[in-house]
Assembly symmetry: C2
Homo-oligomer: 390 residues x 2
Amino acid sequence: MLPFEKSEYLARTEKTRQAMAKQGIDTLVAVDPANMNYLTGYDGWSFYTPQAVVVGQGLAEPICCTRAMDAAGAKLTTFLKADSIIGFPDHYVQSTERHPFDYLAEKMRERGLDRGTIGLEMDAYYFSGRGADAIRAALPDARFSDCDHLVNWVRIVKSEAELAYIREAAVLVTAAMRAGVEGIRTGRRQCDVVAEIYAAQIKGTPEFGGDYTAICPLLPTGAGTSTPHLTWSDEPFREGEATILELAGSRRGYHCPMARTVHLGQPPKRLIDTAAVVIDGLHAALAAARPGATTEAVEAAWRQVTSKHGIRKESRIGYSFGLAYPPDWGEHTASLRPGDRTELRPNMTLHCIPGIWEEGWGFEVSAAFVVTPSGGTPLYDFPEQLAIKA
Amino acid sequence: MLPFEKSEYLARTEKTRQAMAKQGIDTLVAVDPANMNYLTGYDGWSFYTPQAVVVGQGLAEPICCTRAMDAAGAKLTTFLKADSIIGFPDHYVQSTERHPFDYLAEKMRERGLDRGTIGLEMDAYYFSGRGADAIRAALPDARFSDCDHLVNWVRIVKSEAELAYIREAAVLVTAAMRAGVEGIRTGRRQCDVVAEIYAAQIKGTPEFGGDYTAICPLLPTGAGTSTPHLTWSDEPFREGEATILELAGSRRGYHCPMARTVHLGQPPKRLIDTAAVVIDGLHAALAAARPGATTEAVEAAWRQVTSKHGIRKESRIGYSFGLAYPPDWGEHTASLRPGDRTELRPNMTLHCIPGIWEEGWGFEVSAAFVVTPSGGTPLYDFPEQLAIKA
C-alpha cells in the first residue's frame, strides 16, 4: 500500500528534524495534508476536520492525530505503530464548545510535548484562526513559532522515487489535455468535454491509474479567459471564442500540471501574436532554469524576451509543485518572480505558467519541468501553440 | 450567468445583516467560499489564496476581495458593482512579509469599516491562524467576535430556487451512483470505475450538466471499508470484498450526496444483518424528521431501532448540506446527534448517513432528504440494499 519504502519516510523525518533544529523548534505540528502524507504516508479525504502530524526531536516516529473514524485509515495508509495514531472523539467535530486541537494538546501534554518551542504551520490550509487560538491557549508552557512551509521546503528537491510518480502524472495530464483539446468543438457542451477530461485523468493507462487532483479542471472560455480560475458550465463552446485549459494529473498525490489554449475559428491577431511571444518567453525561462540559477533569474529571462513586445505581467510566472491535496497543487515555496532568490537545485520540479489575462481575453501556456544540468527539462511533450479548431 | 435573481442575493444579505445585528456585529468578514458565493454569486477555484466578502450594516452591497487576477472573475460571476470588487496585488500572494488580509484591512479602513465589532469566521476553511492574527493586528480600533457559521445558519433553510438545483444534483448523484454500482465487478480496476463515476457526475443529462463536488468520490474497498474517507487505487476489485461508495452531484455548487455499499460474491452474515438493521434505522430517522422535531430526536429514532440489535455508533449520523466548496459538502450547522437541538423547519436539507465502521469491515447507506410536513422526503430513489454482485 505505501507508495515509498519506510526508509524514505524516516529520511524525510530526519531532514525535517534537522530543519527544525536550525530554527530552534522542538516540536512541529504539521497540518498541511501534503506534509502529513509526506511524513507518514497518511492518505484520506479527511482534512475537512482538523488533523495533524506531530514531529518531535525526541520522538522515534511522528504522531498522527485524526478524527477517530479516520484513525483506522491512518492504520491502513501509514507506516506508524498503533500507539503513534490518535483518534479524537466525534463530539469534538464541529462543536462550538471544544476544538479537536484541545484534544491534540492534551495528548501532546501526556507525552511531554507541551514545552519548549512548538512550531505551527500558521498559514496552512485547514489550520484555522480558532485552531491556532485553541492550541496556543491549551499549551501555556510552550513558546510558539511559525514554522509554515518548513516541511514544504524539505519537500522541494524530489527523490528519484518521487520523480517516478511525477513522470507518471505527466502521462496522465497529457492524456487529459489531449481529451480536452480534441474534445472542444463549436456547439459541444463544456461539461461533456470536462467529463472526458476527468475520465482520462483517472482511468490513466493500462499500467497505472490516476488520483484526484488538488485543483479541478479549470476551463475559462470566451470572456472568462480574462481570469484564470473559472470552471466549466453546461453552455456550448462558441465559434470565435478561446478556451483556456489548466489541468493536472496526479499519481499517488504527486502532480504534474499543464495549461494550453484553444481557439474556435480564426483567432484575432493579438491572440496569435501574444501566444508566439509568450511561448518564446517560456522557452527562455526553461533555458535559464539551470542548477545554481535563482528563481528570479528565470523570471527575468522570460521578461527579457516578452517585455520588448509590450507584454506586462504583474503576477508570478510559476512555482514549485509536487505532492498536493486540495485546494492547491503548488508547494508554496519557490515562486518565479522578482525578489524570490531560491537557488535552483537538480530534481526540483516547477510549473512555469506565464498566464496573460487582459480585458475580455487571455492566453495560457505552461511547462512543468524538472531542474537538470542542462536547464528546465519539460516533463511532457505536448504542442504549445494556440490550438486552432473548428 | 448568475444562478439566482439579484433580489434573492439582496434578501440573503438582508437576512445576514439581521443575524449580525442580533449578535451585535457591525461588519462581517466571510471567508468560507460557499458563504462568499451565497452572498454575491462569486464562483471560482481561487480559494487557495486568501479572499473574503465583507458585509457591513451600512454598506449598500457586500464587498468582494480576491487576488487581482481573480477580480475579473468576480466581475463576471457576481452582481456587484465594479467598486465593490477589490483585487489585492500579487506580491501579497504566499509572501512571508505581508498577508492579503493586511491589504483587506487597509481597504476596510478606507471605507470606515475598521471600527465597532467585526465578525470573523474563526474556524472556517481557508481562514488561517496567520490570517486571523494579521487582520486582528491591522485593525486595532475594532472589537472582534467569532461569527463562524452565522451565514451558514442563514443558509440552512433553502429557497425554492435552491431546492430546484439540489433536485438536479440528486439526478446527477443518481447517475453517478448507478455508474459505480453497475461498474464494480471482480477484476475491474477501481480507477476505471471511478472514471465512469466522474464522467456521469459531470456530463449529467441532456438538460443540464454537473459541477465539481466538494469531496471527490470516496471508495473504500476491502479492509478499507473499516474507515470512511479513503479513495480509490488502480488495484482490481476482489471477490469476497465490499466497497463503499460515497458520492455527490453538484449543480451550480448545490450538492446532493449519497452512500451505498456493494459486495462482490456472497457477503458474510454480519454484513447482511447489519445492512438490514441500518436501513430500518434510516427509515425511522426519515419518519422522525418532521418540522418541529429536533435533530437529536431524529438520531434517537435511528438509535432506538438499531441499538436493540447491538449496533453502537459514537459518531453523528448526519448533517445539513447544500451549497458547498471543497473540502466538505456539509454545511457545518445542524448535526444529527445527541445534544444537537436544532429544530427542523420545512425546506431544510440533511444527509442522514449512519455509517458503520468496524475492525476490518463496514457498511454505509444514506438518504439526502428535504424536511417536509410528512417527514424527511428523500431527494432520490435508489436501491438502499447491500448490492450483491459477481
